[in-house]
């Protein structure tokens, strides 16, 4: 007796069960009960602040100077190395944002009320962000992006670095204050018991 008719449904069920086990695995980020005020204070500050150096790495004038002074071979090698730096920077930037998003989700989970529209919007933006990051990364990987195009990254990251630095400082201070407030309430409750 042939059970070929079962294959599509079997594949679907196996896929769903695998997704279930994947969702059961420990979350890639911190668990909610492991968050501390310090996490909010240093969130996102690690890589985003290196924008100026990335700008320098992508500067066309550098490469032109290298081509004239050291030859085309050296210029190509430096260009390749710098492209790699930008790729690594994009990965690191994504890591910073993942941390930011984790904090945003933790705040949502620990809030007594959430707004569905804001949550769905963040989910949509997160998917969009990851998708775009990957597309740009693969373009860089394949060398499909020309240097002027890639130099757009410098514009992106330098602006973003400044924005992040100031925004996260504000957000971090407020979030840290909120966590402190929540834990002091908790301590008061414990004392009462």
């Amino acid at each position: 007796m042939s059970l070929l008719f079962l294959l599509p449904l079997l594949a679907l069920v196996v896929f769903l069960v695998l997704v279930f086990f994947w969702s059961l695995r420990g979350t890639p980020t911190k668990r909610l009960d492991q968050f501390q005020a310090a996490d909010f204070e240093c969130a996102g500050r690690r890589h985003a602040t290196h924008g100026p150096q990335i700008c320098q790495a992508l500067d066309n004038r550098d490469l032109q100077y290298l081509a004239s002074a050291g030859g085309a071979h050296l210029a190509r090698r430096v260009r390749r190395d710098r492209r790699q730096v930008v790729k690594n920077y994009l990965i690191a930037l994504r890591g910073d944002f993942d941390q930011l998003l984790t904090l945003a989700r933790a705040i949502a989970a620990l809030s007594p009320e959430v707004v569905a529209v804001e949550e769905l919007e963040r989910l949509r933006l997160t998917v969009q962000f990851h998708l775009r990051c990957r597309i740009i990364y693969f373009r860089l990987l394949l060398g499909a992006a020309t240097l002027p195009q890639i130099s757009g990254v410098s514009d992106l990251v330098s602006h973003l670095a400044v924005r992040l630095e100031t925004a996260l400082q504000e957000l971090g201070e407020r979030a840290a204050l909120a966590v402190e407030l929540a834990s002091s309430t908790d301590r008061r409750n414990l004392d009462a018991v």
Partner: protein, 262 residues
């Protein structure tokens, strides 16, 4: 065939004993209020089994009245199962008040949509309709549970071993039932004996998991959470989203510079 029938009957009685053991545990450890849905589901299941034993002895297993009664008695069982699964959602998310408020709306909409789809896609022929609707409802259970745990993962909420085992029990039973029903739908009468057997085996495994779950320490399942002040969310979330939107716009410009030239 007689061998299969005897084995199936033995497994049926074994599942009955196991279900009674779970209910006994819930009663003895005063856990009925913690797992009301699971308790009600198992009790109704036990009652259904008793009813079917009487009916089969009275009319015989092949009697059409017995068959119809068996399918109709599935309705309260399914309702109680829905309650038991709702219990899992509550145990996993209710501590996080804000997320819970969002989750139950999303999950209820999803379940309602899938159930309506199950009913409409079942067709009009009684034999096939019941089987198809049943398979679709089991698939609904699987999708529902997965969505629930994806939701929890998205927010970094970790399920206790007891909740995991409860969910895994329902997932195991529903997954196997979907496949089992599909085979029966194709092979019809040639598969009836095996269908009964392959329906009972996963159920036994599921009851085993539930038994393990209810024996876990209660503290692990019902721990409290200290929530942040209400203002924090309203102050921070729009800012997070705004910054993310700006970043996406910039990434879009980088990806497609031509599209953004004035």
């Amino acid at each position: 065939m007689v061998g299969i029938a005897n084995l199936e009957l033995a497994l049926w009685y074994l599942s009955l004993v196991l279900q009674m053991t779970v209910v006994f545990y819930l009663l003895a450890r005063r856990l009925l209020s913690l797992y009301p849905g699971l308790s009600a589901y198992l009790l109704v299941n036990i009652l259904q089994s008793c009813l079917l034993i009487v009916t089969y002895r009275l009319w015989g297993i092949d009697d059409s009245r017995a068959e119809q009664l068996a399918w109709i008695s599935q309705i309260p069982v399914l309702v109680m199962r829905a309650w038991a699964i709702a219990d899992i959602c509550r145990l996993l998310l209710a501590r996080y008040r804000g997320i819970w408020g969002l989750a139950w709306r999303v999950l209820l909409t999803l379940a309602a949509g899938l159930i309506v789809f199950s009913i409409f896609s079942a067709g009009r022929q009684w034999d096939h309709a019941v089987l198809k609707a049943s398979a679709s409802l089991e698939l609904t259970t699987v999708v529902f549970l997965i969505t629930l745990f994806l939701f929890a993962r998205h927010y970094g909420i970790t399920a206790s071993p007891a909740i995991r085992a409860l969910a895994l029990g329902f997932l195991t039973y529903s997954s196997f039932t979907v496949l089992n029903h599909k085979i029966l739908e194709h092979l019809s009468d040639r598969y009836v004996a095996e269908w009964q057997l392959f329906g009972t085996l996963p159920f036994l495994a599921s009851v085993g998991m539930w038994l393990w779950a209810v024996r876990q320490p209660v503290a692990q399942t019902a721990a409290g959470v200290t929530l942040l002040p209400r203002d924090v969310y309203y102050a921070l979330t729009p800012e997070f989203n705004l910054r993310l939107r700006l970043l996406n716009e910039r990434l879009n410009r980088l990806w497609n510079p031509e599209g953004h030239r004035p």
